[in-house]
Every structure is written in structure tokens, then in C-alpha cells.
């Protein structure tokens, strides 16, 4: 029966199966802390700390643009200017903070993970690890995914902080809305659940991006060309599934 199933159905199913299997192995390797302890710190620095500048820059700009755009759209004179703050802050916290960070990391981290693991695969470094008796999934994938899950919320917080700050600053300097009014408006409509939602979202994004990129990299085939393919696929798939996760989370949690 399976023989007659067209490839466009079979291939994604097969990929999903292999992805789940990989995650299952990775999950089983979590207790072997000694295997990946050193790598974990390394990956946390590379995925988290070293991504801070680019994430913060992108967030600052998106916060500033959101402020300018919101004040441009709010032409009705009776609307208090504080509403700008009440729109920019939740947009940043609920959506932009996590998604901007996600897209940057899909490119920066996702592609790098896939290229690294892909190269290790085609040069038999992964086989070498296995042949030594090391759990290659525990050694390579667990630290990357865990680092993603841990560091992504950190980047998200940084993005929100800088994004809102950028929005406030541009709103004030550009004469759109004074900082005081911006903050008052934001406070009036602030929901403590929003940042929590953002953190949950960033956890999921961190997991999605790193696990998909690890999957693409770990199963790379076909030399240098294969590595290039895996890298592209990792970045694209990360973005697609990030958006999907975004929608699913919004439907479930909001």
C-alpha cells in the first residue's frame, strides 16, 4: 500500500518520523549530563550571548518603526496619544519581540547549526564520535537544543527591552508621543499574562529552530552540496515552522 503513496505525502511523513525519532533519542540523552556539559556552555554563548547585538539592533528598529507607524495611523484627534504606547508595548511583548528574534536566529543560529552538523556528518566526524563510543546525539544535539530553549527567552527579553525603549525614544524625539504618555497608555492596558505568553512563545521558538536545524544538519547527505542544501533548508524550515508555532500558540493560549 505504501508503495503507491505519492512521494509528496510519503516524504514529509518520513521526515516527521525521523525527526521524532531524533528528538526521542535526544530526550533519552538528557540525563547523560557529562556528555554535553562543556558543549552546553559553549552553545549557550554562541546561540545566546553572541546573538544579543544583532537581536537587539533588529528589535530596536522594529520598536521604533512600530511607534512611528502607529502614530501615523492614529489620525483621529480624540484618541489620546498614550494609545500609541498601549499598542506598541503589547505588540512588542506579544509578537514582535519573539518573532523578530526568531527570524534572526533562524538565519543566524539555524543555518550555523545545520552547516556545522552537516559538515561533521559529511566528513565523518559524527561517525568518529559514535565510533569512539560517544552518544553523538547527546553530545551534539542536546546542548544546542537546550541552549536554544534556555537562551531564546533571554534574547526575547533583551529584544522587548530594547524594542520598547527604541519605540519610546523615537516617539519622544520624533514628537509623536511623550515618554510619560506612552508609559501611561501602556500601563493602562498592560496584562501580566502578555510577557508570560512571550516567554512561552520564545521557549517554543528556541526549541523549534534549534531542533529543526539539528535535524537537517545531522542527517545531511552528499558532500559540500548537501551541506549547502541542509543549511538553506534549515533556515527556511525554521522560519516556516516558527510561523506555524506562532499561530498555534496564539490560538491555544490567547
Amino acid at each position: 500500500m505504501l508503495r503507491n503513496t505519492p512521494a509528496f505525502i510519503l516524504n514529509p511523513l518520513q521526515a516527521l518520523g525521523r525527526y521524532s525519532q531524533l528528538l526521542f533519542h535526544a530526550f533519552g540523552a538528557i540525563p547523560e549530563f557529562g556528555t554535553y556539559r562543556k558543549n552546553l556552555w559553549e552553545q549557550m554563548v554562541r546561540i545566546g550571548v553572541e546573538s544579543l547585538p544583532i537581536v537587539m539592533m533588529a528589535a530596536a528598529f522594529s520598536g521604533a518603526v512600530t511607534t512611528v507607524q502607529t502614530s501615523y495611523q492614529l489620525v483621529f484627534p480624540l484618541i489620546p496619544k498614550g494609545i500609541i504606547g498601549a499598542i506598541v508595548v503589547p505588540s512588542m511583548i506579544l509578537e514582535l519581540g519573539a518573532v523578530v528574534t526568531g527570524f534572526i536566529l533562524a538565519g543566524r543560529v539555524g543555518a550555523r547549526i545545520a552547516a556545522e552538523l552537516g559538515t561533521m556528518r559529511v566528513t565523518e566526524q559524527i561517525d568518529a564520535l559514535e565510533a569512539m563510543g560517544l552518544n553523538s546525539i547527546g553530545y551534539l544535539i542536546v546542548p544546542r537544543v537546550v541552549a536554544g530553549i534556555v537562551m531564546f527567552p533571554v534574547l526575547y527579553v533583551a529584544a522587548c527591552f530594547v524594542g520598547i525603549g527604541g519605540g519610546m525614544l523615537v516617539g519622544d524625539l520624533g514628537g509623536f508621543v511623550p515618554i510619560g504618555e506612552f508609559v501611561d497608555g501602556a500601563r493602562e492596558f498592560f496584562q501580566p499574562f502578555d510577557p508570560l505568553f512571550g516567554v512561552i512563545k520564545s521557549l517554543v521558538f528556541g526549541f523549534t529552530i534549534t531542533s529543526i536545524s539539528c535535524f537537517k544538519g545531522y542527517y545531511t547527505k552528499g558532500g559540500a552540496e548537501g551541506v549547502g542544501r541542509a543549511t538553506t533548508q534549515a533556515a527556511v524550515a525554521s522560519c516556516v515552522f516558527l510561523l506555524l508555532a506562532d499561530l498555534v500558540l496564539a490560538v491555544i493560549l490567547l
Binding site: 545566546g48 500601563r187 501580566p192 510577557p195
Partner: protein
């Protein structure tokens, strides 16, 4: 440099945690470093209050609402909230839901109790005043106001009626005066019937005022409450004023004398529209006088004699 990775990661995570906590507290309008303490209040109706709404004391934000839910046992609305530790929420403090649901600007207003009694302990219950909506509040209090107005008018009418009876008694030797008074009262009655229109004008104005209040409510809920309070006070003052008019005897005497002369002053008074307002107040004066008259007629009889001599 063996620990440099660990240190970098640790510092970043700690910084992010601090920024996160302070950021949330900042937008929750909480003091950034002071600790807070939690309290609970119970309401029949939350009036649109939700978690995250601001808690205010005398218009100052001091905390925020943690959760709003329906108690399973009592079916009442339980509101958990926290306030700055420095706010003395003492026994006898009251919480009320204020603001305007339709605009989504609802908050919990705390009215602090006597500062000299002990504080409500952490997690304790602050008694909740049931607010209703602002419009609801208005509608609730409208009949009360109408009653007040009715009462005043009713008194006025009653007083006039009694004056009529009194003056109609035939035994008096100042019939002429009485007739004059009678005439004036007739005039007053005519006037009153003419006034109907004006009264409806006034009611119209009240209507418009209410509409204005509505608008005001749109802008700021509290202003309406304040206004209504002031309106109440005004009513009370009006009542008091009516009473105090009994002191205006002299003025009344003057008028009575003029009436006695019968030289058309009243007509002039009535015809001269600029004098209208004077008459208005005079009328009120008459009421008081009549009331006084009723209480101690001798005094007036004496006066009347005096008047007769002229």
C-alpha cells in the same frame, strides 16, 4: 579563562531575569524595588475588572489586580490584588471598582481606613463596596434626586394652599388687605401656571445636564460622582435657603405695603420682565412668611394693624 563561558552565560541570564521582572513591575505600575503585599476583596459584580488593572489610592497607582474569579462557594466575585507595602491598608478600608467598563479603563479604587487602627494582614479581606456601572449609578440615584425636587415643589404648593385658606377666613378686619393678597396670590397662581413652561424648560436643562454628565462620564468617571455629590449638596442648601428666608420680613413688609397701595405696582412688576427674577425670589419669601405666619399669627396681626394705620 576556564570559566569564561559559564560566566558570560550566567551574567546574561541573570541580567535578562532582572530586566524581565523589573520590566513587568514597571508596566504593572508597581514600585520597582519595594515589595508588595497581597489582599483580597469580594464583590457582587466585578464591573469589567480584569487581572492587570491598576489599584489606586486617592488617584495614585499603588498596585495591580492579580486575578478576578468567581468563588465556587458563594458565587461572588473574588478579586486578588497587591499593593505597595508602604500603603497602610488598615481595618475599615474599602475597595470599589471604578472607571468605565465600556472604555476598558476599569480600576480598583481603595479607600483607606483610619490610619491608627491595625493593618489588614497579608492576604486579608478588604470589604468591597458594590459599584455597579457608572450609568447604573446614575440611574439608581436619579429617582432620589427627583424625589428631592418633588418634595421641594410639594412643600411649596402645600404652603401656598395653606396661605390661601388662612387668608380666606372672613373674620378679619383687614379684608382689603386680604383681598389684595388674594389678588396677588391669584396673580401668583397665574404666574405659576405661566411658569409651567419655564419649569419644563428647567427640566429640559436638567435633562441636558444629565446628558452632559454622560459625556463627562465618558471622559472621566470620577467627575460624575463628584458632580452628583455636589448636586446633592446643592439640594440641601436649597432646602436650607428656603428656611432662612423667614428672616426677610422687612422686605416682605415693604412689598405688602406696596400691594396695599394698589397703585399697579404689582402690574408693573409683572409687566416689567426685568423685574421677573426679583419677583421670583419674593415669591419664595412669601412662602417662608406664610409659614412663619402660620406658626405665630399674633405677631403678624400686630404688624397688620400697624400697616392699616398708614
Amino acid at each position: 579563562m576556564k570559566y569564561s563561558n559559564e560566566i558570560k552565560v550566567g551574567v546574561t541570564i541573570i541580567l535578562a531575569t532582572v530586566v524581565f521582572i523589573l520590566g513587568v513591575r514597571y508596566f504593572e505600575d508597581l514600585p520597582l524595588f519595594n515589595s508588595t503585599y497581597g489582599l483580597t476583596a469580594e464583590f457582587d459584580n466585578a464591573g469589567g475588572l480584569i487581572a492587570g488593572n491598576i489599584v489606586r489610592v486617592n488617584g495614585v497607582a499603588v498596585g495591580s489586580v492579580n486575578a478576578v474569579y468567581i468563588s465556587e462557594e458563594s458565587g461572588k466575585v473574588i478579586v486578588d490584588f497587591h499593593v505597595d507595602k508602604n500603603i497602610p491598608v488598615t481595618e475599615g478600608s474599602e475597595a470599589v471598582v471604578a472607571g468605565f467598563d465600556a472604555l476598558g479603563v476599569v480600576r480598583l479604587e481603595l479607600k483607606l481606613g483610619d490610619p491608627n487602627v491595625p493593618r489588614i494582614p497579608e492576604g486579608g479581606l478588604v470589604s468591597g463596596l458594590n459599584p455597579g456601572d457608572l450609568i447604573g449609578q446614575m440611574t439608581e440615584r436619579a429617582p432620589e434626586m427627583m424625589d428631592g425636587a418633588d418634595r421641594v415643589l410639594g412643600q411649596l404648593e402645600g404652603v401656598l394652599a395653606e396661605a390661601n385658606t388662612m387668608l380666606a377666613s372672613p373674620e378679619s378686619d383687614f379684608r382689603q388687605t386680604l383681598r389684595a393678597v388674594q389678588g396677588s396670590v391669584d396673580e401668583v397662581e397665574t404666574l405659576l401656571s405661566e411658569e409651567r413652561e419655564r419649569i419644563s424648560d428647567i427640566l429640559g436643562n436638567v435633562d441636558r445636564l444629565t446628558a452632559d454628565l454622560d459625556t463627562a462620564a465618558g471622559e472621566d468617571g470620577e467627575a460624575v460622582t463628584a458632580l452628583m455629590d455636589r448636586l446633592n449638596t446643592m439640594m440641601t442648601t436649597l432646602d436650607a435657603d428656603l428656611e432662612s428666608y423667614s428672616a426677610t420680613n422687612e422686605q416682605l413688609q415693604e412689598i405688602l405695603r406696596k400691594l396695599n397701595d394698589g397703585d399697579g405696582t404689582l402690574g408693573m412688576l409683572i409687566n416689567d420682565p426685568s423685574m421677573y427674577h426679583r419677583l421670583d425670589s419674593t415669591l419664595t419669601g412669601i412662602n417662608a412668611l406664610v409659614a412663619d405666619f402660620q406658626n405665630n399669627p399674633e405677631k403678624y396681626l400686630k404688624e397688620m394693624k400697624l400697616v392699616d394705620l398708614f
